[in-house]
Point group: C2
Chain length 419, copies 2
């Protein structure tokens, strides 16, 4: 769904913009066991999250991912599985500059059927910086068009020191006068392309900074734009933890409560909505109506978290309908959808065989849904007239449901939680 | 428990070493809502984890934490709650250098009853770098004794650039010739103390680098030692995610399987041990024997993860004994202990009322144990003669138990998981 930011983008960006993502590192080259861009989060590789950050931007037309030849097939399957429609692949070179140059050449080769139209501005970004936002890309693209070159900068977090060859302190730099150069960077296509055509083999072999290239060969001092901390690069093991948490947090912002037509279920839906909102979540509440698929399907397609209320096991066909509706959206290809089936137990005396039936049904149901990237959990909410106990049950619901949504754990699907 | 590293430390460190942790930042000073050192992980503030990293080191005698006056009471309660026995508090100053100087003066004031003996070497470290290891502290302390000053360095992860006043690129630095200055740093006490006595008000107000101070005022070029990436500083929101994950990972390395005396429970214990080891965990397996408290208590005191097998509800007194044993260890003051009660259901036909009894018992039990920082979960393992189904059940056990251990979630305590 397009935000007002996106509409603003299309107003201001009236020139073609493409993206080149150098991801040419192989395990061997970096001396690492696995290049970070292929580490998976919720069964989806990091590079797919970065690609999607650009797929979401309406004024970006083409995304060129540059990978080592040995990774081409892997990337093809990633692009196919996660439906990245604007993305094309190119084989990389032995260094980052060579890979970027390969990516640019896709727009320049002549007489080729698959040639893409030359963009006016090209954005260069790292495959391992997944949290880049349209608002900042707008600033970079605009500054690149006006100035020829632009780049993200961040404050230095540590004092930078110069060392002697024997590893003693020589002198320290005044932190205030320097910045860290980050990504994304943007360039007029012709400017960066010409710089690459003119630079030396030494630059290709040892250079790390595109801004330095255009300074030396095109004489352009890049415009530097302070970027948000979210532009950070996934480099170390701790960054994998941070990325996973942020990805999960992004999926946990919003929930959709689905009630059937029973009065008690609708009433409970409003209680659950209220307590989830108190916990910081955005909540929509809708009723199942198998006739009006339009708005039902629309609401379902906007949320990675569904809470479906049932009052009897006869409601299971409704749940199947919800699952079928989710499958038709584009959500599961990008991340697991959490479906919490909340069974409201209205009889104060519990029927044990009914519990076991439910447990077995949820178990089988969850096993099937998991193959479609839908994680099903059961939650048994025992109604009681005792106000205090009922409020405690609702609090408990909020804690358990909140945890299931935030952690999105496949290992706990099919379990029946009791509050 | 002391490792061979610790014994090595005491052999090599035959001089007194103290630590000063400047944590004087107040919310106002940093312009942040909450200083990161007070962010909690598993109900324990970050600064407590950093303090404990030094409490664990046998050759460190005193830890001086320097905090803003408004935080003194909070730190007193943290030190008391988490049993930090070597730690003392001092009020900080308006800047980091002033705070460090206040920390050093604790060893110098005359005629005071609470004066501490002057150390030979003092280590300075940040409250927000919790993952510092004894091995590296040894290198810093040794180099400080030999050279007068030593400091941790790390490679630069971004290109450092100089900017013009209008925010254009002026030039970029060659990344290979510089390093990031990190913590910990170490000094001969007299050297750093004298440097502070001689430095200017400008240094006190605007300086950020202790190594620079001793270079300027004591003429010593610090020895620089490459440190591990675990020395990173908790600065941004993503770092909170990373720190929490690392803390949880550290608690999830080892489990202790407790079987009763029943033959089936002992056999199951070995199955569970095997499958947990296959999942990468270290596992001890012991039998409950209320007579032999010595080895039972010792094993329990070494693990944040207990898996207690029962074959009938008559086993609950054994579980109470396990909980009592955990309470007497020093584990719960530093982190939540996970206790998974695995009920092995030997009858192929399930008794539903028995299920509900168990559920209710686990629920009440878990509620009580939570106040002692012990997280209790129930797990129902249904025995079956069908080999394939039994292996699937064991795999399921491994996934669920692994998740409960890794995530250590208070919200899911008292639930009965079925595999
Ligand atoms: Mg990269
Ligand atoms: Mg600090």
């Amino acid at each position: 769904a397009e935000s007002s930011d996106s509409c603003l983008g299309r107003e201001r960006i009236d020139f073609p913009v493409a993206v080149v993502l150098p991801a040419g590192g192989s395990g061997e080259r970096m001396g690492l066991p696995i290049p970070k861009q292929f580490c998976t989060f919720l069964d989806r590789p990091l590079i797919s999250y970065t690609i999607q950050a650009f797929e979401r931007v309406p004024w970006i037309e083409n995304i060129i991912v540059v990978v080592a030849a040995e990774h081409l097939d892997l990337l093809k399957s990633i692009i196919h599985k996660h439906c990245h429609k604007k993305t094309k692949l190119v084989a990389g070179g032995p260094t980052r500059h060579r890979s970027i140059f390969n990516g640019l050449q896709v727009f320049v080769e002549n007489g080729c059927d698959s040639q893409l139209p030359r963009p006016e501005v090209v954005i260069i970004h790292d495959a391992v910086r997944p949290f880049v936002e349209e608002e900042f890309l707008l600033k970079i693209a605009t500054a690149a068009k006006q100035n020829g070159a632009a780049g993200a900068i961040r404050p230095l977090v540590s004092t930078v020191i110069a060392t002697t060859p024997e590893s003693y302190l020589d002198h320290s730099l005044d932190r205030a006068r320097y910045r860290a150069s980050e990504m994304p960077q943007g360039f007029l296509f012709d400017t960066i392309y010409q710089a690459y055509q003119q630079c030396s083999d030494y630059d290709f072999e040892y250079g790390t900074e595109c801004l330095h290239l255009v300074l030396q060969y095109s004489g352009i001092n890049a415009k530097l734009i302070e970027g948000p901390s979210s532009l950070w690069k996934v480099t170390y093991k701790r960054d994998l933890f941070a990325a996973e948490s942020i990805i999960k947090e992004n999926l946990s912002q919003k929930a959709c409560v689905i009630t059937g037509v029973h009065e008690e279920a609708i009433h409970l839906g409003h209680c659950l909505e209220k307590i989830l909102v108190a916990g910081g979540m955005k909540v929509d509440i809708i009723s199942t109506s198998c006739g009006d698929d339009g708005s039902f399907a629309k609401n379902v397609s906007e949320s990675y978290n569904l809470i479906h209320i049932t009052v009897s096991t006869a409601c299971f066909p409704e749940i199947k309908h919800t699952v079928e509706t989710v499958r038709k959206t584009d959500l599961p290809v990008l991340g697991p959808v959490v479906l919490i089936v909340v069974h409201l137990n209205l009889s104060e005396c519990t029927s044990f065989s009914k519990r076991m039936d439910e447990l077995v049904t949820i178990r089988g149901f969850a096993k099937e849904a998991k193959q479609w990237n839908i994680l099903v959990y059961g939650l048994l909410l025992n109604y009681t007239k005792d106000k205090q106990k009922w409020n405690e049950a609702l609090e408990s619901f909020s804690c358990v449901a909140g945890t299931l949504i935030k952690d999105r754990k496949a290992a706990l699907t099919g379990q029946l939680f009791v509050v």
